[in-house]
Symmetry: C2
Subunit: 420 residues, 2 copies
């Protein structure tokens, strides 16, 4: 009988290092000699459902190695969310049908908590129906909000980039404060403020940006915000603000333009757009200083040109460990990162139940946020500092720019009827 | 009699390398032994007018050297614009009064064409009133739109960063196109499209972002834009667009939301905000694909963490050359960069009349833009490629982040009555 095949899928928002995890999975599986093909799912779980698969183990070894120097998701990703087994049973059964059709008995899934939920349900359905399947999750999210792990691959790199971006743009504001007096840097993080909080690393002295950091964990009020901005402006003559995109008010609702009478233009129209634009409008109206905003958007989660070496190494380690665990016959777990005790930072891996990860959420603890709720504490800086260490190597070509790899994606023959 | 003093001022929008030019000026002046103090104007010409000056030559040598690794404007900048000699005569006379009061006979001014205009008028007024003054301009603008020079210090670094950002975010869109199908990267350049055009370096294959580049030099029409987006979407299933912030219509007027009936929300309100948000609204309405936008803002002109080594070196060369020229007794000129003929890129410096720079503008030539007006030609790539070569060294500390220098700015004693 032929060796079982393994499948790997990438899910959700890309990061600078999810491909490093993929590299670990593919290389370790090939090295083990225990599987036939390492199959890639094109665009995550969508590729499984559509039977849109390719032979990842047929990619050139140097292409597989170059995953460590390539951002985003080399196999493609998606945001397709499976519901409960009751509601999405057809999807779950289809996944197992595709696995059976391609002799797939190992399922590696890199993603956030929704993905861990999917992996958990696939794992349970396989067990219930007597199909031999080993499911292992690999943590991935720039938001750093997964439960059961000290931190998530992807976070260290976005932290390094946004903190550096705050330094850079902060110096710009400091140079030109006589006209551009206030600047806002909007960063990702709809529910957790880990990314915003990481920019505290840039604030080494009172002079240094950011002077104010707002995170979704602390209820946002316009009154306090305006007071904060005025205080910094009076003290320094300039203000640099970092705002997480998902700021919420005391009722836990997103702070949006429609809810703020302050954020109206001179015609009484509500200002549309993101948090930064709304805060800009509020500052210009209530504090009366010219305000600019930068929105790094997807540039922050794909910034391979200045990614954290620690993050790349840990992402790779998680990928390799997922395979080692799977080959021991363990299933239904996600690989976690454990921060070892001691002065010198060192991390190892552990395991968590997929269902525990699926149902948990890791927000920035209140003790990591200052009393006023507009900055971070030393505990936060101590937490994030080791994660941004080192610069991940990239390849630069004659154009003076990075070179990223693209998989050939040799398609697997489709054998099942069309599904979607 | 004591040696004459020199003054240096930085003007307009900061760049990653304007401090490298300052480094060249200060180091070369100190080395020459021909001047007393090198005086820094705090916040550009505002510092001169307010007699807010500091002793730049008293800064530590290692701080002066660290200018090469520090973005923005270490002496402070401003956007204060002097008008004609008739209209702003008091300002010009005040400048000369401050120069006289501080024994300043050398004036180095790093900036764009408005700054060169100011330097020119100060130079002429000094000559007319018999005050011995040598004025030399140093080119600086990320916009790359100064006349009389092959290119401008600051441009190579922003080009390197935005092209890399287009690569990074382009890979993100490629990975997640099943939900986030279209992305727009808004870049600076209100009148000239040099920055947008530089992202053409990232488009190495048809797959690679950006697929469409829009520059202010080509009249923008919504009809063509929608056709372009649909064509790319049908061909690749995703679209990555770079838009210069200053797109103009056929009448030469800025394309703003108010002018486009297409860019209205479901309530009929005009979408406010920048070009990217407006284009996003148009695409979502007319093409029907989900669109994101990134606005790098001031992050693009301060990105020292990935600045061009070529740019840093040329900026430094321009600063040194300004001093060499001034000490020869030449005045009323701006240092230019000359691209030498030959296959291997090599640059030297030249000189241009300040008035010629003040009255000129260097836009992207039509031959650098493709026929359809939505991309660039090989000529553009050949022009920009040498300018992004090499990565400028930075210092990284135990926080894993860059270390930037801040001048002590030991203030000069004020001897004149208050002016502003």
């Amino acid at each position: 009988m032929s060796k079982p095949n393994a499948i790997l899928a990438q899910s959700g928002g890309p990061t600078a290092v999810i491909n490093s995890s993929a590299c670990g999975v593919i290389q370790e599986l090939i090295k083990s000699g225990k599987v036939g093909k390492v199959i890639g799912a094109t665009n995550g779980i969508l590729g499984v459902l559509k039977e849109d698969l390719f032979d990842a183990s047929a990619e050139k070894p140097e292409a597989i190695e170059a995953l460590k120097r390539t951002p985003a998701a080399a196999m493609g990703s998606c945001r397709y969310k499976l519901k409960s087994l009751d509601k999405s049973r057809a999807d779950y059964e289809r996944i197992l049908d595709v696995f059976k059709a391609h002799n797939i008995h190992y399922f590696f899934y890199a993603g956030g908590n929704d993905s861990m939920d999917t992996a958990d349900k696939v794992n349970k359905l396989a067990a219930d129906t007597g199909y031999e399947l080993t499911c292992i999750g690999i943590p991935k999210t720039i938001d750093n909000d997964l439960a059961c792990t000290d931190h998530c691959p992807g976070y260290g790199s976005v932290a390094k980039y946004v903190a550096t971006s705050a330094m850079n743009a902060g110096r710009d504001t400091e140079a030109l404060y006589t006209t551009d007096t206030c600047s806002i840097l909007e960063v990702m993080g709809r529910n957790a403020g880990w990314i915003a909080a990481s920019t505290g690393l840039a604030h080494r002295t009172e002079e240094d940006a950011p002077h104010l950091i707002y995170m979704p964990e602390v209820p946002f009020t316009f009154e306090q915000f305006i007071r904060d901005v005025k205080e910094v402006y009076q003290r320094l003559g300039r203000v640099f603000i970092v705002a997480g995109e998902g700021l919420k008010d005391e009722k836990g609702e997103y702070v949006t333009a429609e809810k703020s009478a302050l954020a109206t233009d001179s015609f009484g129209h509500a200002q549309l757009g993101g948090v930064a634009e709304m805060l800009k409008a509020v500052i210009e109206k209530e504090v009366g200083i010219k305000t600019r905003f930068n929105k790094l958007g997807t540039n922050q989660r794909s910034a391979m040109h200045f990614a954290s070496l620690t993050d790349v190494k840990e992402a790779y380690m998680c990928g390799k460990m997922a395979v080692k665990v799977a080959l021991k016959g363990i299933s239904g777990k996600m690989v976690t990162i454990i921060r070892e005790k001691g002065k010198q930072y060192k991390s190892t891996t552990g395991l968590a139940e997929l269902s525990d990860v699926a149902n948990g959420e890791n927000k920035v603890p209140r003790s990591y946020i200052n009393e006023q709720g507009n900055g971070v504490t030393r505990a936060m800086l101590d937490y994030v500092r080791p994660l941004v260490q080192g610069q991940a190597p990239i390849t630069i070509d004659a154009d003076g720019l990075p070179v990223y790899m693209r998989f050939k994606r040799k398609p697997m023959k489709q054998v099942l009827p069309k599904y979607m």
